[in-house]
Every structure is written in structure tokens, then in C-alpha cells.
């Protein structure tokens, strides 16, 4: 029997499986039991693969017996439902793709298979990754295990909710403007967005191609490092995949060497929730005591990041989502007199409100007469933001900020105010525009008992330093040990 899934990490589980103190069938069975209890309450999953997972677990146990196991052999993981999985429904939480069964595996899904992971299921999300609350899902929102009346964050809300509630050991998710780190922050787990180009986007259903990136959400920094190592690497099927050596994760468990840590003046602003600010300040003092030097830095163009980001992602989304006509795949439930009518009917019925809003915004910004005013201006602003980071990294090794200005908000709290939802991504968007790696890890709890996240941003392709500092902080603090008490469904 598996007594306590809450504290079992990939690193520990692999060791138990290797020494035959635990079998993958037992482990997978324990997670499937947990999912049965949590799913009616948290709605973290869109598709649960009970039979397939148990069959794979049995194969994994045989491989351990023969000594032919992969590095993730028998480890029960789950994937955000915008990562393409062969012969397994992949919906992007959209009515448009409700019945879509991909005939191929994406690069990350193929790599997990190759390493022997057990796939428990596909996770809930905001439709096509567009949202910060998981409320824009055709399948209803996932819930926050720390308070089920609150959002788990978005768009990877299902992934963070599932990891935090031990409904999977770890998950792969995607991050365009903060969709890994903000949910990780809201649910008290660790989320890593790798450098753009580090992990292949082949088989990540495109939302905004110049920003989308796959990364892990886990219970520990070490598990994030293990999964990063498993999924990163050059892929000739993705033209923006970078042919560079993998991040060296072999020494991240050593104490981090003294680093220069930059704190952007602009980030600890009036808009920041007081309790979040205090926790982040406390974490910064902790890092200083641990021997790192702290210095104030300036990222003067960050205040323009949200405006630039929402123009760029909406423009790219309007272009990427133009492929959904319902003819070759996707929703096609109407008969129409002509092609134009068919196209519109399928898109009108297949897309949710937020997706339509972004397609409209993007189409407007790219339309004749507005391209220079909006899209070109946003891309120039993106350049200025990148230059700010380049300047900052001349004098510091890591930049530390809050992950989100608040803790988890109530479901429906921001649904009517679109702009206020967009502003929730204020800290996670700037590093994404510059393509930099960043991680969110727990650094405290507010008076309501809700988790607070600390964001660390590193130089491009220097995930090693990032993970090393994050693990050092995690080892010396207790925040990651607090687990939610999710009531059982029965």
C-alpha cells in the first residue's frame, strides 16, 4: 500500500520502484483511487485513462524486473490537454476539439512514453490556453484544492490542482504568459517555464507561437529538474527548437554558490497585495542571509508588458486559430449553404467567449491600417523589454519577483472584468516576452491559508543556476511541505 502520496516525489518513487519496495501497479492504483475521490470536487481532469494507466504500470514493473527501465519508468504523470497524445482525445478544453483524437504524438508526449512514464490522463485548462482562472474551459473550471470556491489559476489550472491534491505525481503544462507559474503559485506547488526553444513545441497545440513553451508542474524543484531533463532537447520538427546542450541538473542539489540577485524596483508596487509583498520581502531577506547579495535593478519598460503581450498573443492566436474550420477535424455539426457560412457556424459554436474575444482583438490589430499602430508597436516594445533584461543580467545572476500580485481569487470574481484578469499576469509576462526561463515556488501563505508564490527569472538557457537557487531556497524553508486538505467526494 502507498500510505501517503502527498510527500512522494518522482525522485523518491523511482528509488522505491528500483528497489522493489513499491510497484508501479500499486502506485498507479493509489493515484487512480485518489482521482476518483478528488475529481468530482476539483474537476482537474478532462480525460482519465484508468485502464491504459494500469496496463502501462504492469509493463513498467516488468521492465524494472528485467532492468530495462527508463528514467521515468512507472511514474504516474498527467498532461495538460493541449499536448497532443496519439489515440488519446486532446481537447484544449474547447468544444471545437471535444472529439479530436490525434493520430500522432507530440514531442513531449513521445519523450515521456520513451522514458516509461504512466499517463493517468489529460488535464483541465482554459480553452486553448487563453485565461488566468481556468474558468474558460468547455468542461467547467478546475478548483483550487486549498479552497474549492477559488480559482486554481490558469491556464494550467487542472495541472496545478492535480499536483497539489496528489491526483498525479507531477504534470506537464504549457506557459504563454504565465500559465505554468501563476497556477503553481495559486496551488502551492512548483512550476518551471523553460527558456523559449529549450523544449520542442511540436505537438503543443499552437496559441501564440512566439511565446508558447512546455514545462513541468511538480511538488519539488528536484522533480522539475528531472522532468526538464526528460523533455528538453533539439527537435527538428520545431523550427524554433534550439540545438544546445541540455541544462546540467546534476549539481542542483548542492548548495547554490553565492549569487547576485536583482529585485526590480517596478515590481514591488502599490498594486501588490500586502501579504504577498511581505512574504516576498521575507524570502528576499532569507536569500540574503543565505549568502546571496541583493541589489535593486530597473526594468523600466515592464509597465508596458501587458499591453504589448495581449496585442502579440491575440494577433498570433487569431492567425493560429484560423485553421479551425471544422472540415478536416473539429466541430462540424451544421449544414450550410456555402463555405463561408459553414466556416462561421462551426467557429461560432466551437469557440468560447474568451477565445472569440482574442481572435477579434488579434484580427483587428492585424487588419489594414492598424498593423503598425498595434502589432508593430507591440513588437518594438517587446524589444525594449528584452533589452531591459539584457542590461539587468549584466549585473545580476537571477531576478526575483512575486509570481502573482494576489493569492487565488474567487471563481467568477474577475469573470466580468476582462482587463482585471489580464492584469493578473503582470509579473509573469515580462520574462516571457524576453524568452527567459523562470520558476515559481511557494514562499508563504496568507491569513486565509492560501499559497503565495515566489518567481525567480534566469538568463536564457541557464536553467541550472535557476534550479540550483530555487532548490537551495526550498531546502531551507518549509512552505512546500504544507498540503491542502481536500474533502472527499463521498
Amino acid at each position: 500500500m502507498v500510505d501517503n502520496l502527498s510527500y512522494l516525489t518522482i525522485a523518491k518513487a523511482v528509488s522505491l520502484l528500483k528497489s522493489k519496495k513499491l510497484s508501479s501497479v500499486e502506485l498507479t492504483g493509489a493515484y487512480l483511487e485518489k482521482i476518483k475521490l478528488s475529481q468530482p470536487i476539483l474537476n482537474s481532469y478532462i480525460t482519465i485513462l484508468e485502464q491504459e494507466a494500469l496496463v502501462k504500470a504492469q509493463i513498467a514493473d516488468e521492465k524494472y524486473s528485467k532492468g530495462t527501465n527508463g528514467i521515468l519508468e512507472g511514474i504516474p504523470l498527467a498532461l495538460k490537454d493541449n499536448l497532443i497524445t496519439q489515440n488519446i482525445r486532446t481537447t484544449c478544453a474547447s468544444k471545437m476539439l471535444n472529439n479530436f483524437v490525434p493520430p500522432y504524438d507530440g514531442d513531449t508526449s513521445a519523450k515521456l512514453k520513451q522514458h516509461g512514464a504512466v499517463l493517468l490522463g489529460k488535464l483541465n485548462m482554459d480553452e486553448f490556453g487563453m485565461g488566468s482562472s481556468n474558468e474558460h474551459s468547455f468542461f467547467g473550471p478546475a478548483k483550487n484544492p486549498f479552497d474549492t470556491s477559488r480559482s486554481p489559476g490558469g491556464s494550467s489550472g487542472g495541472a496545478a490542482s492535480a499536483v497539489a491534491s496528489s491526483s498525479c505525481m507531477a504534470a506537464l503544462a504549457t506557459d504563454t504568459g504565465g500559465s505554468i507559474r501563476q497556477p503553481a503559485s495559486f496551488c502551492g506547488v512548483v512550476g518551471l517555464r523553460p527558456t523559449y526553444g529549450r523544449v520542442s513545441r511540436y505537438g503543443l497545440v499552437a496559441f501564440a507561437s512566439s511565446l508558447d513553451q512546455t514545462g513541468p508542474i511538480c511538488k519539488s524543484v528536484e522533480d522539475c529538474a528531472i522532468l526538464l531533463d526528460a523533455i528538453s532537447g533539439y527537435d527538428k520538427k520545431d523550427a524554433t527548437s534550439v540545438n544546445i546542450a541540455k541544462a546540467d541538473i546534476s549539481e542542483i542539489s548542492q548548495n547554490s554558490a553565492p549569487l547576485k540577485i536583482g529585485i526590480p524596483d517596478q515590481y514591488l508596487s502599490d498594486d501588490l497585495d500586502q501579504e504577498v509583498g511581505e512574504s516576498v520581502e521575507s524570502a528576499i531577506r532569507h536569500l540574503e542571509k543565505a549568502g546571496h547579495s541583493i541589489q535593486r535593478i530597473s526594468l523600466p519598460h515592464s509597465k508596458y508588458a501587458i499591453a504589448a503581450y495581449y496585442i502579440i498573443v491575440s494577433a498570433e492566436a487569431s492567425s493560429n486559430l484560423a485553421r479551425y474550420d471544422g472540415i478536416r477535424y473539429g466541430l462540424n455539426e451544421e449544414t450550410a449553404e456555402n463555405f463561408d457560412q459553414l466556416f462561421k457556424q462551426n467557429r461560432n459554436q466551437g469557440f468560447g467567449e474568451e477565445v472569440k474575444r482574442r481572435i477579434m482583438l488579434g484580427s483587428y490589430c492585424l487588419s489594414a491600417g492598424y498593423y503598425d499602430r498595434y502589432y508593430s508597436k507591440a513588437m518594438k516594445t517587446r524589444q525594449l523589454i528584452t533589452e531591459d533584461f539584457n542590461t539587468a543580467f549584466n549585473s545580476v545572476d537571477i531576478i526575483v519577483t512575486p509570481t502573482s500580485p494576489t493569492t487565488a481569487f474567487k471563481l467568477q470574481e474577475k469573470q466580468k472584468d476582462v482587463l482585471s484578469m489580464y492584469l493578473a499576469d503582470v509579473y509573469t509576462i515580462p520574462p516571457n516576452l524576453a524568452g527567459l526561463p523562470s520558476i515559481s515556488l511557494p514562499c508563504g501563505y496568507d491569513k486565509k491559508g492560501l499559497p503565495i508564490g515566489l518567481q525567480m527569472v534566469g538568463r536564457a538557457f541557464d536553467e541550472s543556476t535557476l534550479l540550483s537557487l530555487a532548490q537551495d531556497y526550498e531546502k531551507k524553508t518549509k512552505w512546500h511541505k504544507k498540503k491542502p486538505e481536500v474533502p472527499d467526494a463521498v
Partner: protein
């Protein structure tokens, strides 16, 4: 600069979406709010800045080698409207007008 209801309707046509009159009004109001926030970028002088495309990563092209593609069965697996390995769509060419 702001968006009018006529421009929203024109954008919907470009985006291949259609809205009822009340939806169009609501969408116009929402886009106005968002675009007025985007106008914040007007504060920045970007005349001498070159537009950034994607993060500074070289674009890599793969070798032009033949690879196995999807089988017809796989290609048509997700189509709700197909016959004999063809996608069924409304008639695109109007033969009557063609002949005139």
C-alpha cells in the same frame, strides 16, 4: 483611437465569426476597453527601435528528406463529414455563373 460597431462587424467578417446585434454591441464595448488600455504604448517613442520577432534564437531548417506521412485512415479519422476519402464541403464553384 477607438473601435466603432462598424469596425467590429468588419473584424468579425475577417475573423470568420458572426455575432447577433446585442453580442456585437457587447464585443465593441469590451474591445474599446482593452484597446484603450493598449493605447498606453503611445507613451513610448519607438521610432528608432527595430521590431523583435521571436526571442533571439536562430531558425533551424531540417534536411529535405522523405518521411512517412499519415495514412488516409489517419487523415480522415477526425472528420465528421467525409466520403470515400474526400472531405465533404458545400459547393464552392457555382457552375451556372461559370458558364455565363
Amino acid at each position: 483611437m477607438t473601435i466603432s460597431k462598424v469596425e467590429t462587424a468588419k473584424t468579425a467578417e475577417l475573423a470568420k465569426l458572426s455575432f447577433s446585434a446585442s453580442e456585437l454591441t457587447a464585443m465593441t464595448v469590451e474591445l474599446k476597453t482593452i484597446l484603450s488600455y493598449m493605447n498606453k504604448l503611445d507613451e513610448l517613442d519607438t521610432d528608432t527601435v527595430s521590431a523583435k520577432s521571436i526571442p533571439d534564437t536562430p531558425t533551424v531548417l531540417r534536411d529535405d528528406t522523405p518521411m512517412r506521412s499519415l495514412t488516409p485512415n489517419q487523415v480522415f479519422l477526425n472528420s465528421e463529414n467525409m466520403a470515400q476519402f474526400h472531405f465533404i464541403v458545400p459547393k464552392v464553384i457555382d457552375l451556372k455563373n461559370e458558364s455565363e
